[in-house]
Amino acid sequence: MEWLFAILVGCLYSAGLYLMLQRNMFKLVLGMCLISHGANLLIFTAGGLTRNLPPIFSEVTSVTSQITDPLPQAFVLTAIVISFGVTAFLLVLVHRTHKTLNTDDIDDLIKTDLQ
C-alpha cells in the first residue's frame, strides 16, 4: 500500500516543484500548495497506514492496541492549519505584488538582487 502513496507523494512534490519553476507567480502559489500536500501525505504515510480504525474511543472500539497511530495525524493537522495560514498570506502577498508591479512574471522581480 505504501508504495502507491509513495508514488503520490513523489507526484505531488515533482508537480509542485515544476509549477514553481515556471515564471508565473500564480503557479508559484499553486506549486507551494501541492508541495505542502506532499509533505502532509509524507508524514501521514510514514506514520503507518491503517484502514477504518480511527483513533477515537467509543463504545464500539475500545481495543486500544488496534487503532491507528494518532500522532502523525496530529502533526498533519497542525501542518495543514499552518500551511493554510501561510497560503492565505502568500496569496495576499502575491496579489499585492501583482497589483503594485503590474506583472505576474517572476523574472520581473530581479531588481532587488542586483544593483
Binding site: F5, L12, G48, P55, L77, I110
Partner: protein, 773 residues
Amino acid sequence: MFILLIVFLPFLSVILLSGVFSLNKILRAIILSIPPFLALFISMSYLNKQLPIFQLNWLPTLGIDLYFESSYFQLLFGIFILTIGIFIHFFATIYLQKDPSLNSWFFWFFTFMGSMLGIVFSANLFLLFLFWELTSLASFFLIGHYHEQEEARKSAWEALLITGGGGLCLLTGFIMLFILTGTVNLPELQDKFNSSESSFFLNTAVSLILLGIMTKSAQYPFHFWLPDAMTAPAPASAYLHSATMVKAGVFLTFRLSPIFSNIYLWHALLITCGGFTFFWGAFCSLREDSIKKALAYTTVSTLGLLTCLIGIGTPEMIYSAMLLLFAHAIYKAGLFLFAGSIEFSTHHKYLSKIKGLWLKQPLFLITALLLILSLAGVPLTFSFYAKEELIHTLFQLDSINALIVTLLIVIGNILLVGFATRFLIIPLYKNENREETFQFNLSSYLLITIPLLFSLIGIVIPLSPYLTDIFHKLSPELLPNITENNYTEITTKHNQTYLLLLPSFITWVAGISFGLYFIFKNNISKEPHLTALATRIYQQSINQLLIQSDRITRFFQNGKLRSYLQTFTLAVLLVSFISVIAESEIIQSNILSHILHTEHKTTTYDFILISIIIAGIFGVIFAKTKLTAVICLGLVGYGMAVIFLIFSAPDLAMTQFIIETLTVSLFVFVFYHLPEQHLHRRRFTKYQNLIICAIFGVVMGFLTLSASSIQTHLSISSYFTTKSLHEAHGGNIVNVILVDFRGFDTLGEITVLAIAGIGTYALLRYQRLKKHE
C-alpha cells in the same frame, strides 16, 4: 603599575581632549601635553633602574594577558616616542591652527602615541597585536585627515589595507607560535621555544610574522604605501612615518630576533628584503620631486638597512641597528617637520617650486643643512656616530656576508648623499620664472624652531659624553654572550675614526656627483618602475577583486527565483543521494522485504482515488485558465481529504475538507479582480527542469517509502492511546493530542494563524492608507 601608566597616559589626553576643546589654543596644547610629559618623566626616572613588569590576566584562555615589561632599550625607545611626540604635538598646534577638524586629528594622534607605547612595552604578542592594529587604524585616520581630497582617502585606505592585511598575517603567525609553544608571552616564549626543530609549520609561522613586519615597515614590495601616505598633514608624517609607526615592524624584529636566531629563513628573508629595500628606497628618493615623498623614500631605505642588519643578527649588528634607529628617528622627524614648515610658509610641496628659498631665509638654510648632514652621515652628527659603529663592526666580520653588506651600505649611502645634495642645492637656485614672495609670519618662525631643535639634538648627542653614555648602555643588554673584555674592546675602537675617513670620503664624492647628475638630468616626473610595478600589482588586485567578486556574485545571485529553487532542489537531491548510497544495502533489504510482505492489500478503489488525484495534479499543471487550475487544486485537496477519511483520520479529513474549500475560495477571491493573464503566456518547456522535477519526485517518493519501511524503534504513540481516556479525559485521541499532550504545538500553530491574519490586515490596510494619502 608605572609601566601601565606610561602606556595609558597618552590615552588620558584623548579623554581630556573633549574637555578642553573650547579652551584657548595654547592652554589646550599645554594641558594636553601634561599626560605625555608625566609618562616621559616616569620613563626617564626609571631609565637606569629596573621598571617592574605588569601582568594581569585578561583573556588567559586565549593567551591574551595584559603583560608589559621594559628593558633599557624599550624604555629608551619609549622616551623617544614621547619626546618626539610632544614636540610634534606643539608643532601641530601651530601647523593645523586653522583646521576645523583639529580635534579629530589630536584624538587619533594621542591614540596613536598610546598604542605605539603599547607596542613597545607589551610582552604578550597578542597584546602587541592589539596595539599594532590600533596604530594601523590611527594612521588610517591621520593619513586621511584631509579626506575631502580623493587622493588622501585613497592613500589612507591603501595604507590601512596593506598594514591591516599584514597585521592579519602577523596574527596568524602569532597564533601558530601560540599553538606550538602554548604561550605568547615573550619572556616565556624565549624559554620554551625550541627552534632547533625547524618544521614546515614553524617556517610558515615565521614567514607570516615577517610578512606582517614587512608591510608595516614598508619593505619592498609593500613599500609604496609609505610615499603615498604623504598626503597626511606634515606632523603626522613626521610622527608616523619617521620615528614611530614604521619602526614598529623593526622594533618587533628586534624583539623576536633572539627567539628566531636559529631559523635560517628568518635571516635569509630579512637580509634579502632589507638589503634590496635599502638600495631601492635610496634610489627612488633621488628621482622624487615632492619633498615629503622623497623623504619617505629615504625612510624606506633606512628601514631596509635596519631590517637587513637585524637579519644578519650578530649582536654587534643589532647594536648598531639600534643606534641607527635612534639617530634616524631624530633627524627624520626633523626633516619631515622641516618639510612641513616649508609647506606651511610657502604652500609648496615640490622641491622645484621652492627655488630661492634658502637665499631668502637663512634660518631655513641652516636647519636644512644641519638635518641633511645628519642624513648623509657626516662626522659630528649622531647618525655618523651610528654608522661609524656599523662599519666598525663590519670590518670585524670576515665572511662573505659582511662584504656584501658593506658594498650595499656604500652604494646606498652614495645614493643618500646624492639625495642630500639635491635637497640642498635645488632651493639654492634663483627663482627664475617669477618673483614669488614667500609669506613668513610669526607662526612660520615658531614652526621652524622645532626642526631646528631636532637638528641640534642630532649634533649634540655625539658631543656630550653623558648622552653617548646613554646609548652605550644599550650595548651590554643585548650582547649577553660578550664578555666584559670584548665589550671594552668594541667601545675603544670608536676612537679610531681615521679608518673610516677614506671610505666615507669616497662615498661623499660619489654621492655628490650623483646628486648633481640627477639635478641636471632633471628626469623626475616618472615613478621608478619597480615601485610602479608594485603599485600596479596592488591596484590591479584591488580592481580584479572588485570585478571578480561582482562576477561571482552575479553568477550566484542572478535574481531569478527559478534558479534559486533549482539550486535548492539540487542540494536536497545531493544530500539524499549521498545518504542513500552510503547505506544502500540496508535500504534495499528493508524496502524490498517491506513491499513484499506488506499486510494491507491495495484495493481497486485506492487505485481509482489515487488516479483521480494524479489527474487533478496534471490538471493543475496543464490548466489553461486560473479557474481551471484552482478547481483542479481543489480536486487534489478533496482527494486528500478522502484519503484521510479512508485511512482512519476523520478529524484530518474534516479539517482538510473545510480548509480546501476556504483555500479555493481565497484563490478565487484574490484572482477574481486581477487582470486575466493567460497562464500559458510563455510556453515553458525546459527538459532540464522536467528532469530535475522528476528526480525530485522520485527521491521524495523513495524517502517516503524508506521512512515507512525502515522502522528501528516502536512509536511513542501507544502512550497516548493508553492515557487519553482516563488521564486526559477525551475519547478523540487526535484532539486530545492537539489540546493536551502536545497542546504547546497548537499554541504555536494558532499563533501562526493569528500572525497570518494580522499580516493580511496590515498589508491590505497599509496599502489603503497610502492610497488615501
